[in-house]
Symmetry: C2
Subunit: 263 residues, 2 copies
């Protein structure tokens, strides 16, 4: 299970301000906390201030890499911002994200190829969001075909099948989980996603997010964009790894428990 730390995102006020003030220490502390909590990758998103995004990405990447030695997930819809981050990555990065939209593939797939990156692909098209698990799989297959011309193998793609809120679209939660199973069994690609949309409008969102994570790990989720410093989230993740045979002799679970990171 790949844990992608989601906390360095300018949609969070404290991160937005740290980027504006170029407060490297604050960003680095967020990076260190997430890696200590178990993150294998750190997502880097500074898209709130669109005007300065490429410049800010160029500042963020080395600041983070000074503090921690994990690969990064460069997160932007802008090719320019992606490029300014990707060119500074020390480790093989993940690009977040492409979609099935032709313009987006045309602008971003060349960067995935250029930097030999992995890539997160949202199962969304020009026509909008899919409803069924099968539609999500169909879009995934289209994306796999579309990026072949950039020599991007299916194994390098993490599909995000788009979690939707149970408060407004209760039938979508099962379609998403089934989509993970379909993509895992019918393509060579992987799956990764954020989970927080599921709990939109509900109290105690981390509880709903982490419960949904347990189900998604059972249906085959490979990567999760989460806040690894949230103890409830990481506890359920470790338990789910142990249950699904991703943690031999439950050693990660037991270690996390002993270190007080889980429980």
């Amino acid at each position: 299970m790949i844990i992608i730390g989601e906390r360095i995102n300018a949609s969070r006020k404290s991160i937005f301000e740290a980027i504006e003030k170029k407060d490297a220490k604050f960003i680095q502390q967020e990076a260190v906390n997430q890696v200590n909590a178990g993150a294998h990758y750190l997502d880097v998103n500074c898209g709130t201030n669109i005007k300065d995004e490429p410049k800010n990405m160029q500042w963020l990447v080395p600041v983070i890499q000074e503090a921690v030695d994990v690969p990064l997930v460069i997160d932007s819809p802008s090719a320019e911002a992606l490029d300014s981050g990707l060119k500074l990555c020390k480790h093989k990065p993940i690009v977040n994200s492409i979609t099935a939209e032709k313009e987006r593939i045309k602008s971003i797939a060349p960067l995935v190829a250029k930097y030999n990156a992995d890539v997160i692909a949202l199962t969304i098209t020009e026509e909008g969001m899919p409803h069924t698990a099968q539609q999500r799989l169909d879009i995934a297959k289209k994306i796999i075909e579309a990026v072949k011309e950039y020599k991007i193998d299916p194994e390098r793609i993490y599909f995000d099948a788009l979690v939707r809120p149970i408060s407004t679209e209760p039938d979508q939660s099962k379609e998403f989980l089934k989509a993970i199973e379909l993509i895992k069994t019918q393509t060579k690609s992987k799956t990764a996603c954020g989970l927080s949309n599921i709990s939109f409008g509900l109290p105690n969102r981390a509880l709903v997010n982490s419960t949904y994570l347990a189900m998604a790990i059972y249906t085959g989720l490979d990567g999760a964009l989460i806040d690894p410093t949230n103890k409830q989230m990481i506890s359920i993740l470790r338990a789910a790894e142990a249950i699904t045979g991703q943690d031999e002799y439950c050693m990660n679970y037991i270690t996390a428990f002993r270190e007080g990171k889980c429980g």
Copy 2:
């Protein structure tokens, strides 16, 4: 989702002592606490003292029914103990349990029929425990056939597909979850089980049990024998119900949260 409170079980020292001393108040408090926490049924097990089991069952059932107005799950391998409890039940009870073992069916199925009860059936045979999901389904089908002569319809059976410890049998956790799915899609019966075996030998057992419960609810579990006063367990159960469309507008989840029972 049917919640069966598991706490009135003489394998717990405090319950054993309360039964020996005929401490009705203690038993009734356990009953009230579980119903307040959300239990729809209460399991009643006094099998530790085998000699006095029928007599103790006969004492327990009215004591519990004086305190709470929910149906009971009469839990014993002994036909005599079952009979002494079943005959006193005010509401339609569940018998816990039969298996595919001929002798056990012969002694217990007549009681299920006599009291028009529902029944929990363990997918176990004279040859022992099944390994695969398919074997569990095959045993379930055998039990459905075997109890037909007692006019027990498949709809009255809750199959317990036998949770096994991940610490010793890591491949069994997925087989159990698949078995629930198979039984739910290929028979007219329901599924119910305890979960605590999954975490045998591990620290923070409630975390592993509740994470597994989330997965089991996704694959179709209808009933869970749990401690509903365990907040972690009931929290994840409420979240899982909301996620899987068993809680319209998430009202149970939100109410449980507001009442401090969840979160």
